[in-house]
């Protein structure tokens, strides 16, 4: 079997065994060299410090019987009493199970939908059709949940557009926006309309980074559209898929708040209560106080961290980059 050999002349000036020694730069030199980058990073660091790291330190009130009217260190430490109350609350477990149910639904049916939309969008050649498609699937992301829920009630509600059409035709009213049995489907439809287009954007960016010559080479070798997608497109965006998957798994206990809170009264608390609404209703409306809510938030955060670490580890085992790599 013939092998290709380089025809380039050997580098005459290269000294093969020469060791390049780089002098370690001092902190001052590095500052002088990298100050534009540091300056760019400063707002983000300030934002994270003020709105994330500093509030994170206040998680300590989950272990206190906290009152904002006492000097901070005079708040008595109560150990894990708030966590005990949280785990013993009869509504905590149902809320946790609902949260996991919605998160799983999102992971299984929404995450792939964004990929499918990105692939569909990528295959549209006409620029006009492409922008129209992008606008239709992308703009609903900017609607608030209040608007989304209102639109669904106006269209699919018992006194909504479709229901009245059905009634005019002699049928029965739709019972969709206040039916606990179909709430999962309703939630999925709302997600799909509001957020699938938004999720598509990152995948589109990843698709743009795939070298077009790969497609040309595959096409000239006779690969059809399906094989090109399977062997070039999907492997090309795999690192991004894995990255987003890990992040999504980490946020599995945070499925949102407004969507469930807004529909709580019409669907009933048993089907709509997720951890965030549980915290709101028990901690703020139910007057359990800041410590209780913080304990619930800390629980969510800790579980999310564990899931991210585990998912990242699995990603490494499978040869992916994950969200960070060992140094």
């Amino acid at each position: 079997m013939a092998t290709l050999q380089s025809t380039a002349p050997p580098d005459a000036d290269r000294t093969p065994d020469r060791v390049i020694v780089r002098r370690k730069r001092t902190v001052g030199q590095r500052l002088r060299h990298d100050w534009p980058l540091l300056l760019l990073a400063l707002p983000v660091v300030a934002h994270l410090s003020v709105f994330h790291y500093w509030p994170t330190a206040w998680n300590i009130i989950a272990f206190m019987d906290y009152s904002p009217y006492r000097p901070f260190w005079e708040n008595p430490f109560v150990g894990f009493a708030w966590f005990e109350r949280l785990f013993n609350d009869p509504y905590f477990t149902p809320a946790l199970l609902n949260t996991l149910k919605f998160a799983t639904l999102n992971l299984v049916f929404m995450f792939p939908l964004s990929i499918v939309l990105a692939l569909a969008m990528n295959s549209i050649i006409s620029i006009k059709a492409r922008s129209a498609f992008q606008s239709i699937v992308y703009l609903p992301h900017f609607f608030s949940w209040v608007l989304v829920v209102t639109v669904f009630v106006q269209v699919l509600g018992a006194d909504g557009l479709i229901s009245n059409w059905i009634m005019d035709g002699g049928g029965e009213r739709l019972n969709f926006t206040s039916n606990p049995d179909t709430f999962l489907l309703l939630v999925w439809m709302q997600w799909a309309w509001k957020d699938a287009g938004w999720g598509m954007i990152i995948f589109l960016a990843a698709l743009a980074s795939i070298n077009p010559s790969l497609y040309e080479a595959a096409a000239s070798d006779g690969a059809n559209r399906w094989r090109r997608m399977w062997h070039i497109t999907l492997p090309g965006i795999r690192p991004v898929i894995i990255l987003l998957l890990i992040l999504q798994i980490g946020g599995i206990l945070s499925v949102g708040f407004e969507q469930y809170q807004l529909q709580r009264q019409s669907i009933g608390y048993q089907s709509t209560e997720v951890l965030d609404t549980f915290v709101y209703y028990q901690s703020i409306i139910g007057n359990q106080g800041e410590s209780f809510g913080t304990a619930a938030g800390l629980f969510k955060g800790v579980i999310g961290l564990i899931l991210i670490l585990v998912a990242n580890k699995i990603a490494h085992r499978l040869g992916e980059q994950g969200i960070y790599q060992k140094s």
Partner: protein, 564 residues
């Protein structure tokens, strides 16, 4: 490959291990959790009578006497004609301070540059009070955090019904608000004659204690809003729609159900109700404070959820749902029932009595048709009806504790001016605005809001609730005043006694949380998401999660007033 320095105290992997340990700890908390007691949010009771530090009550002659004389507070007096207003405060003290008052608003925020504000400011002596409007629908809940963060300006208006959203409100009050006792104690009639004329019970209901166990720590922490009595709410119906369907006004629950059946037509978009939840309890005799009543026969505190009438009430609500007598989107809780009644698609609304007068004014302006009236007290199964009589102040204006004594006194000067009663020029300016701009005098000589006045003066709270007037009257459309006066007279015999009169009770946090769940479960049954047979389960859930503890709490409170 880089080699970590052995002196490096924590490496990234180590950090993750620490985090992982913490995570594992949190996940296993139920096993290792300590059993420390949580003391906060355990509720409080506060006496509102019998203090010797309240302002000394001193008569202030009313500029004009009402022509309908009732028996206040449950049967208030009223005016069926508009008197020539006279000035109440002869010499207004000059003020130069600028303050910010946070108030709730329902609807659009008015234009702050309107002459109304400038004229009022100039007339009461120059003190500027800028209003910070916040959405009234969420005010109760969101104010919890503003207060804790001391981010509400110099003063905040809070209605009594909003206290349910606050945990340990006593702690909030004594730590946040100015203790007015030293300023208001004793004879204040010389500087603030109108504040001295406010009912003593208004001031008594503005008292909180830093230590509930110690009466000496009690003090006045709020400026009381209006002192009212009688039924504040009612189910209003369109008289013209009822008569148009050849139906008569129901006098019992059974008759009401028949009227609902006769009037509703789901297929054609007509329903008896758009919403019926918080009002319906009194039709079934379910009153009390937070649902608790003293049962003289059993000699124990009993919650509404334990009584057979509770089941009857839910059966009634469920019937409305099953027979399509209530709007199909009622479970959303977001329907504008008043607008639907105005449009004629809904017959009844559960309402505040103030809407009665508003609707009459809308009809006179040609913005609405027909007429609304309240349903009479209704009872089920031949039982005597029950009417909640709300003898209390509407709320308080609390002043920030960071104000100086001089600043507080300046605001009290303004409050004194605002306490002017009906029939004064101060009242007219505050309630109706500037003549020609915000109101005109109608044919009968009474003020009629212009479109601007309706939006800017009538609708929002503005300064009208900084303090209550020295006496509250029925005022407004003469026909409505007469009818409302008669209605108040007719319901007196059905007035429910408040077993906790003379005290303010804040339920323990557990009981409040359990109450929230109980409310959700009631709606589940009422809207067909759960069966009536689940009532024993919801009773058990409520009792096990704060209900039983609440029973003891309310029993102690009751016995502290009525003895063993």
């Amino acid at each position: 490959m880089s080699t970590p320095s052995p002196r490096q105290p924590l490496r990234r992997r180590s950090l993750f291990k620490v985090a992982g340990l913490g995570a594992a700890g949190a996940a296993g908390l139920p096993v290792i959790s300590a059993c420390s007691d949580i003391e906060s949010n355990s509720g409080s009771t506060q006496a509102t009578e019998g203090f010797d530090f309240l302002p000394t009550y001193k008569e202030f002659p009313l500029p004009v006497e009402p022509n309908l004389v009732g028996e206040p507070p449950n049967h208030p007096s009223g005016f069926t004609s508009y008197p020539e207003p006279v000035q109440a405060v002869a010499e207004v003290p000059s003020g130069s301070g600028t303050y910010e008052l946070t108030v709730p608003i329902w609807g659009d925020t008015p234009d702050g540059d309107d002459p109304y504000y400038g004229t009022v400011t100039e007339t009461w002596g120059g003190t500027t009070i800028n209003l910070r409007h916040a959405d009234g629908n969420t005010f109760a809940d969101t104010s919890v955090q503003w207060l804790k963060a001391n981010e509400y300006g110099d003063a905040i208006a809070i209605f009594g019904w909003m206290l349910g959203s606050h945990s340990n409100f006593t702690e909030t009050v004594v730590n946040n608000f100015y203790n007015l006792t030293e300023i208001l104690k004793g004879d204040i009639a010389e500087r603030w004659p109108l504040l001295a004329r406010l009912p003593s019970s208004s001031w008594g209901q503005s008292v909180w204690s830093t230590d509930i166990e110690d009466p000496d720590t009690a003090g006045i922490y709020g400026i009381p809003m209006g002192f009212t009595g009688g039924p504040g709410n009612a189910v209003m119906y369109r008289t013209d729609l009822l008569a148009g369907a050849n139906l008569t006004v129901p006098t019992t629950i059974e008759e009401l159900l028949e009227v609902c059946r006769a009037w509703s037509d789901d297929a054609n978009g007509k329903w008896a109700f758009a919403q019926l939840d918080w009002f319906v309890g009194q039709w079934f005799g379910l009153g009390g404070t937070d649902g608790w009543n003293w049962d003289a026969d059993q000699k124990k505190m009993v919650n509404n959820v334990e009584r057979p009438e509770f089941t009857e009430m839910l059966e009634f609500r469920r019937t409305l749902w099953d027979e399509k007598l209530i709007h199909p989107d009622a479970p959303t809780g977001t329907l504008d029932a008043a607008a639907m009644q105005k449009a004629g698609t809904v017959l009844f609304t559960q309402d505040n009595m103030a809407r009665w007068n508003d609707y009459a004014l809308q009809v006179k302006r040609g913005e609405a048709e027909g007429e609304i009236n309240p349903l009479p007290p209704l009872g089920a199964k031949g039982r005597e009806p029950l009417v909640y009589m709300n003898i209390s102040i509407d709320g308080w204006t609390f002043l920030n504790k960071d104000l100086s004594k001089e600043q507080v006194e300046e605001i009290l000067d303004v409050a004194n001016w605002c306490a002017s009663p009906y029939g004064t020029t101060e009242y007219e300016l505050l309630q109706y605005g500037v003549e020609g701009e915000h109101f005109t005098l109608g044919e009968d000589g009474s003020p009629v809001y212009t479109e601007l006045g309706s939006k800017l003066v009538q609708a929002p709270m503005n300064y009208k609730n900084v303090v209550g007037q020295v006496q509250t009257f029925l005022t407004g459309d003469p026909d409505v005043v007469q009818k409302r006066f008669d209605f108040h007279a007719s319901v007196q015999e059905f007035g429910a006694e408040n077993p906790f009169a003379g005290m303010r009770i804040e339920a323990p946090a557990d009981a409040k949380a359990a109450g929230q769940t109980l409310w959700d479960q009631q709606n589940d049954i009422a809207y067909g998401r759960a069966e009536l047979s689940s009532i024993p389960d919801i009773l058990e859930t409520y009792m096990n999660n704060g209900g039983e503890a609440a029973r003891e709490y309310y029993t102690e409170a009751y016995k502290s007033v009525h003895g063993e």
